[in-house]
């Protein structure tokens, strides 16, 4: 069951590469958060109760509900329905996304030959997700899309933690601190500062600070 969930996590990413609609991004992020929660719930017996509640709060309340809801509000307020004019055309994104998945699986194969204790499927999907998140951050122009890329990256990190079963509760709980940044970004965006200062919340406008070589 957890394997199927993990694959759905990955397919969600692939679907993202296909679309340019902000709402799809948000839905995929929320879906991934929920899948992460289910994956953690599966480990109910293995974790101590504090870690368990901590992690389920983080995945269910934070990643699945709060962040997507806030993102949704921002999208509605700023009327950025879709990411127009990305650097790379949509069709290319799908091809790249697929290639990344194949590369991610290849890396996983290599890693799991050396360390068989790694859970290959979530590891592979986490690595692929990570690369695609970078791709989105680098190739998409709107600030809100970049924040979503950051959210994807965090989801990938969470999946990676589950995949590697690192038995360090300290570290697992530390990972949650990454969310503080998300909150900060959302705060900045939600304040509408970036929106009111720039006509459109686009990275393209953020180029007044630049040097020519």
């Amino acid at each position: 069951m957890s394997q199927i969930l993990t694959i759905l996590f990955g397919v969600g990413i692939l679907y993202l590469a296909l679309t340019s609609r902000m709402r799809t991004y948000i839905q995929v992020i929320a879906l991934q958060g929920f899948i992460l929660f289910l994956l953690i719930a599966r480990d109910f017996g293995k974790l101590d109760w504090f870690t368990f509640f901590f992690l389920s709060f983080e995945t269910l309340a934070f990643k699945t509900i709060i962040v997507p809801a806030v993102l949704w509000r921002i999208v509605e307020r700023t009327h950025v329905a879709r990411e127009t004019d990305p650097h790379i055309p949509q069709f290319g994104s799908v091809v790249i996304g697929t290639a990344v998945f194949l590369a991610g699986f290849a890396v996983t194969d290599w890693v799991s030959r050396i360390d068989p204790s790694v859970d290959a499927l979530p590891f592979g999907i986490a690595v692929s997700t990570l690369i695609i998140a970078f791709f989105i951050i680098l190739s998409r122009k709107k600030l809100i899309t970049q924040v979503m890329g950051y959210m994807l990256m965090q989801n990938a990190v969470s999946l990676l933690m589950i995949a590697m079963a690192v038995e360090l509760p300290l570290l697992v709980n530390l990972g949650v601190l990454l969310d503080i940044f998300t909150l900060l970004f959302l705060f900045l965006l939600f304040l509408g500062k970036l929106h009111s200062t720039y006509e459109e919340t686009s990275r393209e406008k953020l180029t007044s600070l630049r040097d020519q070589p």
Binding site: L14, L18, T98
Partner: protein, 305 residues
């Protein structure tokens, strides 16, 4: 023997039921009561009783195409794994024949549309041809992957997802998604095509059969429903357990098919049709899924995983 008889029986009923379920779901979602579940069946019977009007500019191709399309599709379905994964006709390499029969049906549908000499139908045919170019590789790639893993080229053994580790789960998930997307595409359902539209410019399948009438139209519509049923069968073969009892399979199989129809209806109610230029991207996703399955077969099948 019973399984084969059931296969044929289901072939005659379930495709109509699936079409009925989709229409009913859409009607309910739209706040209407909707036609009876067997309305497509009654429509077909009605059409079969009527005579056909044939345009004077058409040749023999137009006349034989509907029958050929139906025959090829129905034969393909007899090769597909049915109740308890039993095929009505089985031999080594039947999967290739099945896929090519589908290709043959498509070919005749295309040239019969072109045969009418109408600009609209030619346009529909060209779109259908474009989408097939993407659909066929994904289907062949996925089937090839399954064949690679199972070591057989017969549908019967293909879907016993053997192997350790993550491979069976990957294959089941990606395969189900892939077949569902292909079901929507080949069955001319909404994100790709709109069976209800009355604007020839946006149609694909419906515009291709615009000139057909009477029994010919019934044949083509039945063939389209059969294709949806084919993909439902493939999904069922993927997700149902290998060791399912025959009588259980006989009950569960129609349920899976109707569930697929239900989902298709929900998708149709929720999703808007894609722009034509957007469809190839959607279809490429099926290729991506097949590629992922292939990668999983290559990497996740060994004992190490």
């Amino acid at each position: 023997m019973t399984a084969r008889a059931l296969n044929v029986l289901f072939l005659l009923i379930i495709p109509f039921l699936m079409a009925g379920v989709i229409n009913r779901v859409k009607a309910l979602a739209g706040g209407r009561k909707g036609p009876p579940l067997l309305q497509p069946f009654f429509d077909t019977l009605k059409l079969l009783r009527k005579g056909a009007v044939v345009s004077r500019v058409t040749s023999w191709v137009f006349a034989v195409a509907p029958a050929l399309v139906l025959a090829a599709t129905a034969t393909a379905l007899l090769l597909a794994p049915g109740v308890g994964r039993v095929q009505t006709i089985a031999f080594d390499g039947d999967i290739v024949l099945c896929l090519y029969l589908l290709g043959l049906a498509k070919f005749f549908q295309l040239i019969s549309a072109l045969d009418t000499g109408s600009a609209f139908e030619g346009m529909g045919a060209s779109r259908e041809a474009l989408f097939s170019v993407i659909v066929e590789p994904s289907l062949f790639l996925f089937a090839g992957t399954l064949a690679l893993v199972s070591g057989t080229t017969s549908f019967g053994g293909l879907f016993t997802l053997v192997g350790s580790g993550a491979w069976p789960a990957v294959a089941a998930t990606t395969g189900t998604l892939l077949f569902f997307m292909l079901m929507l595409t080949e069955g001319c359902r909404i994100p790709v095509d709109d069976p209800n539209t009355h604007l020839e410019l946006t149609m694909i399948h419906e515009v291709m059969i615009l000139d057909n009438s009477g029994p010919d139209l019934a044949f083509l519509q039945y063939a389209a429903a059969l294709k949806m049923y084919l993909f439902a069968l493939l999904i069922a073969a993927l997700v149902l357990p290998v060791d399912i009892a025959p009588f259980q399979a006989a009950v569960v199989l129609p349920l899976v098919a109707l569930l697929c129809a239900l989902l298709a209806g929900i998708v149709e109610s929720l999703v808007a049709r894609f722009r034509i230029s957007h469809v190839p991207q959607f279809l490429f996703l099926t290729v991506a899924l097949a590629l992922i399955a292939l990668a999983a077969a290559v990497y996740f099948r060994g004992g190490a995983v």
